[in-house]
Symmetry: C2
């Protein structure tokens, strides 16, 4: 019964995505246009953005494709038949890996397609009403949210079914073998995410910083001005980073946490009677499945009527989906999880109820982390206003306060993650930690909808500006965009929180698989591992920050060159060479993502092979804790600087153009690589190192 229901929910999710995609695509750009020229401009600009986005994806996926094949070959040769079941373990894992990678690539592609269709239609619909415009942006987001969730659930289920069908029934440790093969799927998803997040993050910020520094600061032209040669690259960047990157990140989290839970579950439920076993094993997937329903219902509560209530409407959706989930998880747990179970023969007994508590802890702490993030990054509250205030004494005090805000903002989320781990572990051991991650990701469809809504609105504003649609239209798209900024910060908090739990779940699965129950910090190899691990996020952040710097420098030089060599460009008489800037961002990001990518992939392999699994466990935990602290503080410092600038732009503290504003712009620029490159990329670092350890553990032992 479980399999058809989950499959049905996956298909339902895809249908929801398809329905919304049609609704978005059916919006006619011509309706209500003030002139045929406006329609022409809209089509031209959105065409350029779409073309740039697809050009980037093609280039990225070509590089990725080669890399994935090479990685698959390594998996094929290196992964050993640890259970001595005479199966081509390497081959199976490689297949699972390639399917995971393929689906992740497909999800990114779908997200980019709909975002580049939805952006111009959101701008067009703003001619009619705020509500109409919001609904197009929101539905574009939902295509991403439900499409990706549906693909994740279906993909995991079908791969499971495939190996379940294919593997001999009498196999020893059959369930565990299947789940271990399935972890290749998670690895595939996460490897794509690495390049999506890192490459996308570098792309978007190189374009943004380059466009801002030369356009806004040097040439004195406004944001999104069509005279700026980097403006199309900047708009492409929003999609590349926040749609494809974020999507791949969260797809990876869902796939990985599900794999982790199922690997641990395969051991835990080994002795459960056959008729109840499949339900117990597939319970993590069922939660993701019903999350689709909860998310779908909550969508109907997103109905903003007034411009300054958009943020509340989006927050309401998050709260309602969490509450619905809580109500639905309870009966599901009672029906699918055995009344009592233990993770090892003769180990501690856990209960159904304990599993429910674990899932609930994840769900609730995810919501709380989101709300804490909002408090630290929205200019409705004290912290951001303090940063704005500190800009009065110059850029230096703006930076000092912004950094301090970021450091501070990471403390409570870290404690919440800690409490969730304690609850999960107390009530259901390592399985509880994995289920807390599944719980936090339960409302992923709606979370992603809101995340993807942001860049679509942002793009819509850019298009409205470039197509000179007039001030009223821009006010509406700005209202949508402002709400998107805050929800983007919430989304980042949520992404790192779930990445932390996912990484812990994967680490738990890795330890379960390596038969390790004790990681003693007092052993020197563990301590050494902790130290190396704690240094990795710092090394990685330094690399990605400098990559942005180098890429932005190339962009700056190109924009300056165009201003210098294209006659009449600054007067608006000539057209900028947008394609050249898109090419520079694409080239730079693809080149610069290699080194940090290799650091993340090679570190666990080298440590695992030469230092052993105990040291590797230390590395995973060390990088997890400093990674989470750094990622949250970077994301929130960045968000706060951005919104402190926006707060001043509302006319506070001297308003736009004042010295205070100029100081705030410095913070905003520093925050760009913080919040959109290095911070989010750390999610991938902690998850990918853990799943590599899980998949390659037979090789280390």
């Amino acid at each position: 019964m479980v399999i058809p229901i989950v499959l049905g929910l996956g298909v339902f999710s895809l249908l929801v995505a398809l329905m919304y995609a049609r609704q978005v695509a059916n919006v006619r750009i011509e309706d209500g246009a003030s002139s045929p020229e406006e329609v022409g401009r809209l089509k031209e600009i959105s065409g350029a953005i779409a073309e740039g986005a697809m050009a980037f994806l093609r280039r990225e996926y070509t590089v990725l494709g080669g890399f994935m094949l090479a990685f698959a070959v390594i998996i094929f040769f290196v992964i050993k038949d640890v259970h001595n079941v005479s199966l081509p373990f390497g081959a199976y894992s490689a297949i699972s890996f390639l399917i995971g990678a393929g689906i992740s690539i497909l999800s990114g592609y779908i997200g980019m397609r709909i975002a580049t269709i939805g952006n111009v239609r959101t701008a067009a619909a703003a001619r009619i009403s705020l509500e109409q415009s919001f609904s197009i942006a929101f539905r574009s987001g939902a295509v991403m949210g439900f499409g990706l969730t549906g693909l994740a659930v279906l993909g995991l289920m079908l791969v499971y079914m495939g190996f379940d069908f294919f593997l001999p029934q009498e196999l020893h440790n059959r369930d565990l073998v299947i789940m271990e093969i399935l972890s290749g799927f998670g690895l595939g998803g996460s490897s794509v995410a690495l390049f999506g997040r890192v490459g996308g993050g570098i792309y978007t910020k190189a374009a943004d910083v380059g466009a801002d520094l030369v356009g806004k600061v040097e040439a004195g032209i406004p944001e999104d001005d069509p005279r700026n040669p980097a403006v199309i690259a900047d708009n492409v960047g929003d999609n590349v980073g926040d749609i494809a990157g974020m999507g791949a990140d969260l797809f990876g989290s869902v796939a990985e946490s599900t794999c982790a839970a199922m690997v641990i579950g395969a051991t835990a439920f080994a002795t459960v009677p056959t008729d109840m076993k499949q339900a117990a094993l597939l319970f993590p997937l069922a939660i993701s499945g019903i999350g689709i329903i909860a998310s779908f219902i909550s969508l109907f509560f997103a109905r903003p009527k007034v411009e300054n209530k958009v943020e509340n409407a989006l927050k309401a959706v998050l709260v309602i989906s969490t509450l619905l989930m809580l109500g639905m998880v309870y009966p599901l747990t009672m029906n699918m999880v055995p009344k009592e179970f233990s993770l090892t023969a003769g180990g501690t007994m856990y209960t159904q109820m304990g599993v429910f508590y674990s899932v609930a802890a994840g769900l609730i702490s995810g919501l709380l982390i989101g709300l804490i993030t909002e408090y630290y990054t929205s200019h409705r509250y004290g912290p951001v206003r303090q940063v704005a205030n500190a800009s009065k004494t110059g850029a230096a005090t703006n930076i000092i306060y912004g950094l301090a805000l970021g450091y501070n903002s990471a403390v409570l989320p870290m404690i919440l993650i800690g409490i969730t781990v304690v609850i999960g572990y107390h009530y259901a051991g390592m399985y509880g930690i994995a289920m807390a991650a599944i719980g936090m990701l339960g409302t992923i469809a709606v979370g992603l909808t809101i995340d993807a809504y942001g860049p679509v609105s942002d793009n819509a504003g850019g298009i409205a500006e470039m197509a000179e649609m007039g001030k009223d239209i821009r006010t509406r798209t700005d209202a949508l965009d402002a709400a998107g900024n805050t929800t983007a910060a919430i989304g980042k908090g949520f992404a790192i929180g779930s990445a932390a739990l996912t990484s812990l779940a994967l680490t738990s699965a890795f330890l379960t698989r390596a038969n390790i129950t004790n990681v003693n910090v007092l052993e020197p190899q563990v301590m050494f591992g902790l130290m190396i691990g704690s240094a990795l996020p710092f090394a990685f952040s330094a690399m990605t920050m400098r990559s942005v710097g180098l890429a932005a420098l190339a962009m700056i030089e190109e924009v300056r060159r165009q201003f210098r060599t294209i006659p009449g460009l600054l007067e608006g008489k000539a057209r900028a060479d947008y394609a050249k800037c898109v090419e520079i961002s694409t080239d730079a990001s693809i080149k610069q993502m290699i080194a940090p990518g290799l650091l993340v992939i090679l570190s666990p392999l080298i440590v695992g092979f030469f230092g052993g699994v105990q040291m590797l466990a230390g590395v995973l935990i060390g990088s997890l804790i400093t990674g989470v602290m750094l990622a949250i503080s970077m994301a929130n410092s960045g968000g706060a600087w951005d919104n402190a600038k926006k707060y001043i732009e509302t006319g506070q503290l001297g308003g736009k153009g004042s010295d205070t504003h100029k100081a705030a712009v410095v913070g905003d620029t520093v925050g760009d690589p913080f919040k959109d490159t290095s911070g989010p990329a750390l999610n991938i670092l902690i998850k990918l190192m853990a799943i590599i350890s899980l998949v390659f553990v037979p090789f280390f032992l």
Copy 2:
């Protein structure tokens, strides 16, 4: 034999300090003065600095005195007689604590006295020659270095002897009991350091930032201009932060690492024959003792003849003292440490040679960390020049590159600390880790000499400027100061490296005392502890950074008020009210140091009491690893920004006054609280939490 020799070395160290103090004091300010007015100005300015410094110390020590007494009362009541030996454990520990605190206070006082005598004499001697001026600054530093080391060695030895004499001979576990009581001494020293580092750090940067932002940026007057009302407070701040704060920090490290080594040693050498036992027990103190000789000999190699060779002369001293130490530690180990020993009955056997390897690992990695720090913070090398280059595109890119440099610079030192821990543990278990810390601190007398040399030269430059001694003099003091900047950065790297090892040694001693041999990260309370611990340095840094911001704001307002209300001040016709600015810095720093101080002191007590020793172990290790990473990256970002600015001021990239220079000034200002407040204060956080855990462990069990 050991006791008289160590006592003799301690006395020798004090005599060296006394000799240098006399030589410094004997320099006549009048010699070679261009006019009686100049002498008058010199005396007036240096008098104001000395007065401000002493006023701060009086205020700080009054607050501290009350706090120390209260803390002693808590120790008196809370520390239990864990060995059931019917001794007033609490009373003994409280006495030991008060002596440690008292000696630390005395060291700070001596350092401040000599610095405020030496600064003006360094300026005066610059009239004669660079070499003469260097030698006064260097000898002032040596008074601090040898005075403090002598007091530390003598204090520890005399307290040991006191309790050895006083306690009944037939006492069970007698050595261990004495060493545990002795840890109160370390706690006392470290508690003073907390306030010295935090309060001093806030003082110095509030004055510096305040003076810079209003004076240099708003009013456009040069640094150290006598018209700036905050200029005396700024010069006082150099002494308060870098002399009293740094001294208390390193005094704490010596006292704590010695206590840690002796607590572990008391268990390890319990079965050693009586005639060899005392030598083995007191081996850590003997190393500190011979360090005095190695340091003294190396002083004679500090002979810079040319202005741009000052830095090399100082580095040579560091290298030579390390090599001398290596040569002297070997025979010492062979004579004092038993050929074979184990830390627990029937545990792994370790050898003499293993102890030597541990000490050597500490010594060498200390030197290497210093040299790595120099690479990242001196503008002779690539990293700082990249930061300077990035200032061409504005303050934002300067900040991004500076932060990335800091993150990167912490990676290798962390790995070196890790390798040292592995070597120490492999060759001599937890005793090896403690001995590595002792080794790293072996050349402390010369390290402190070089550290204290910096602010004395810095002050000399300020005094020369304010007393209008002319350009030639200023060029000489600038050359001394520039070298001091780099050695200050080296000193900070060394301080955090030794703090990390000391903290690990204390944690080891704490675990030894709590009879814990397994801290399993997979236990939820340990994992929770790790997470909380990793968040503490972030919370603490945020607090101290904002404290600097608040204190600087008060200073800014006062300076603005004086410019506004004192007629003729900016024209140089009226005298600024320096005392008022000194008072504001003093008040603000003393008020602002309370909250971060309580965070550090209460966290281990609360966790230990409510969460238990396992969770506390997690907290200590978590805060150690993120604390070290943050502290090194903050110190080096700050040092790099400072020197990037100085590099531009040498005429590169447009030189002083250019836009590039303005961008670099923003980085320098952000770096101030980084490198002089938050970064160094983290040393204390990680050490103090560990020694509180060690002293209070009977209370938790």
